[in-house]
Homo-oligomer: 318 residues x 2
C-alpha cells in the first residue's frame, strides 16, 4: 500500500510507521511536530520507503499536496489530552474535528478512499453496560475530547455514504508502551522521581480503567485494514480485563521498589469528563483472530521501562 | 426570561420568537439573513421586547457581544439542507458544528448557561428499532448534516459536564407549517405550479417519513425548557404516526385538485444519506404532558396553504 500517516511522529503514529515499513509498504508521514518527536522516526528515516513531511493539518492545501498518490490514510494526529480540555476548549474542535474534515477533503481531492481512524472508548460517555459493545445505547458525551472524536467518526461515516470511502474506526482504551509520552504512568513516574515517598492521585484511586499495549493496538489496526471488507468497520480495542488506578500504583511502585504514601484528591472521577469505569467488549475485533499479547500489568511495566530508559521524555513534557 | 434566539428569521426560529414574545419574554434575535427572511419578523419587530441583531455566528466576538445579559439561548441557526450536503461538505461543518461551538463559547463568556438546541432524528442513521427511542443503539451517521448535528450535540453535553450548562436537545422529525421555506411540500408545490400534470419524485415514493407541525414543535420546546430540571435533556419530537411520500403526494394533489403523472427517480432513498424510514418514539416528551395537535396530513395541508398565500417564498428559494 501507499500509506499516509498523520501524526507520524507521535506515540502510536511512529510505532505504526515502523510496522508499515517492516511490512513493505510505502509511508508518507505528516506531522507538525507540535507534540510528536522526530527522534521517534529515526529508524523510519533510514528507510527509503519513508518520507516525512512537516506540515499543519489545518492547512488543507498542504495536506492535499502531501497526500498525492496515497491510497490508505491512517489519521493518527489528534489532540490526545482529555484532562485539560476545559482549559482550552477550542483545541479539540480544531485539532480533532476540523483537522479530520481537512483530512477527508484532502483524501477526496487526492483520490484516497480508505481511512483508519483512532477514536476512543470515551465516546461511550458513562455507559451502563460492561464490557461495553460497539452497539451500546446512544451515549451522552461527557468530555470535549470524546465529543470531538465522535464528531470525527460521524464525518468519516458520512463520507463513506456520500463519496464511497471505506472506514476503519477504532475505539481505543488508553494505549501504553514504548514512546508513550503522556498519561498516568508518566505522571506517577515523574512524581516518584521527584518525591519517592509521596504520590498524589487524582480521584479516589478506585477508577476502573482498561489499557492496551501499543504493539497489540497496531496489530489490530493492520489486521482490520487488511481483513475487513465492509464500508464502515467500527471496532473496540482493549484487553479483556481492567484494573483500578490503585492496582497500577502498586505495580509501578513495586517495580521501582518504592512504598509511597498515597494522597488522594478524592471523588470518583480524576477530572471533568473522566469516566470512572472503562471496559470495552472487543468481541468484534477478536472475531478477526486478534488477541492482545500483553496484560495490562505487563503493558504498564513496559511503559515504565521505556520511561526509565528515556528520561528525556519527562523533560520534554512538562 | 431574557432569551437569545439564533436563526431568529428562519422558519422555526421566527415562530419561536413570536411565541416567546407572546409569553412575555425578552427576545434578542440573531440572524445573518442568509436563509431567513426579515418579513417573518414583522410582527416581532413591532414589539418593544424584541430586537434583531444582524450578524454572523462565525464571528465569535459579535455573537458574544450580542448575547450580553441573556440567560437562555435557543440556538436555531443551522444549515438545514440535508440533500445537497455532498455538494458543499464544508457548509455543515461550518454552519452547524463550528457555529455551535461559537455559541457555546459566547454563552460561557456572557454567563448564559441554558441552551435549547434542535438536533435531528437523522442522527439515528438507519435505525433498526421503530419507533426509535433516544436510547437506540449507537448509530452510524449517514449524512454530513446529521453528523454535524451530532457533533453539536456532543459539544453541548460536554459543556454541561465541563461548565455547568443545562441543555435541551430536541431530535426533530421534519417540521412543517407556516413560514416553511424548504422541503418536499415546497418542491412538489413548485413543480405542480410549473407543470400540473407531472410530478417528479425522488426515490420510489415508498420512503416512510414523519412530520411535525411547527406550533406543536414550539409547544414542545417551551414546555421542556420550562419543565425539565435535568442537566442534559434529550427529547425526540415527532407525531405518533408516519406516512409514505406517496401519501403526501396524494394529499397535496388532492388539495390542489390535480392528478399528476408520477415519475419516480427510483431507489429506496431520495438522495445520499436519506433515511428510508424515520419514526421516533416520543414517549419522553409525551410524559411531560405534550401531544401534537395536528396530524401529518393536517400539517401538510397547512404548509400548502401557507405557500399558496405566500408565493414569494417559492420565488425567493430557487
Amino acid at each position: 500500500m501507499r500509506t499516509f500517516v498523520t501524526g507520524a511522529a507521535g506515540f502510536i503514529g511512529s510505532n505504526l510507521v515502523d510496522r508499515l515499513l517492516a511490512a513493505g509498504h510505502e509511508v508518507t508521514g505528516f506531522d507538525n511536530l507540535s507534540t510528536g518527536f522526530r527522534r521517534f522516526l529515526e529508524g523510519a528515516e533510514a528507510n527509503a520507503r519513508f518520507r516525512l513531511i512537516e506540515g499543519d493539518l489545518l492547512d488543507l492545501e498542504a495536506v492535499t499536496r502531501a497526500m498525492a498518490g496515497a491510497d490508505c490514510v491512517f489519521h493518527l494526529a489528534a489532540n490526545a489530552d482529555v484532562r485539560f480540555g476545559p482549559d482550552h476548549p477550542r483545541r479539540d474542535l480544531e485539532q480533532n474535528t476540523i483537522v479530520t474534515w481537512n483530512v477527508l477533503e484532502a483524501m477526496r481531492a487526492a483520490g484516497a478512499r480508505r481511512i483508519a481512524f483512532p477514536s476512543t472508548g470515551s465516546v461511550y460517555g458513562e455507559p451502563e453496560i460492561f464490557p461495553t459493545p460497539e452497539t451500546a445505547p446512544f451515549p451522552v458525551q461527557t468530555s470535549l475530547y470524546a465529543a470531538s472524536k465522535l464528531a470525527a467518526e460521524g464525518m468519516i461515516t458520512a463520507y463513506v455514504a456520500a463519496f464511497g470511502f471505506q472506514a476503519y474506526i477504532f475505539r481505543f482504551v488508553s494505549i501504553l508502551g514504548e514512546r508513550y509520552t503522556h498519561g498516568h504512568v508518566l505522571d506517577f513516574y515523574r512524581q516518584l522521581r521527584e518525591h519517592p515517598r509521596r504520590l498524589d492521585v487524582l480521584g479516589d484511586g478506585r477508577q476502573r480503567k482498561s489499557y492496551l499495549y501499543v504493539q497489540d493496538c497496531v496489530n489490530a489496526i493492520l489486521l482490520a485494514v487488511e481483513g475487513c471488507t465492509g464500508a464502515v468497520n467500527i471496532l473496540n480495542l482493549g484487553t479483556d480485563e481492567y484494573c483500578q488506578v490503585n492496582d497500577s500504583i502498586g505495580w509501578i511502585s513495586g517495580h521501582l521498589g518504592l512504598t509511597p504514601e498515597l494522597q488522594y484528591a478524592g471523588g470518583e472521577r480524576g477530572w471533568v469528563g473522566d469516566s470512572p469505569f472503562i471496559f470495552l467488549d472487543c468481541a468484534r475485533m477478536r472475531a478477526l483472530g486478534w488477541k492482545p499479547e500483553l496484560t495490562i500489568e505487563q503493558g504498564i511495566i513496559r511503559t515504565l521501562e521505556f520511561l526509565r530508559r528515556n528520561p528525556w521524555v519527562l523533560e520534554a513534557r512538562v
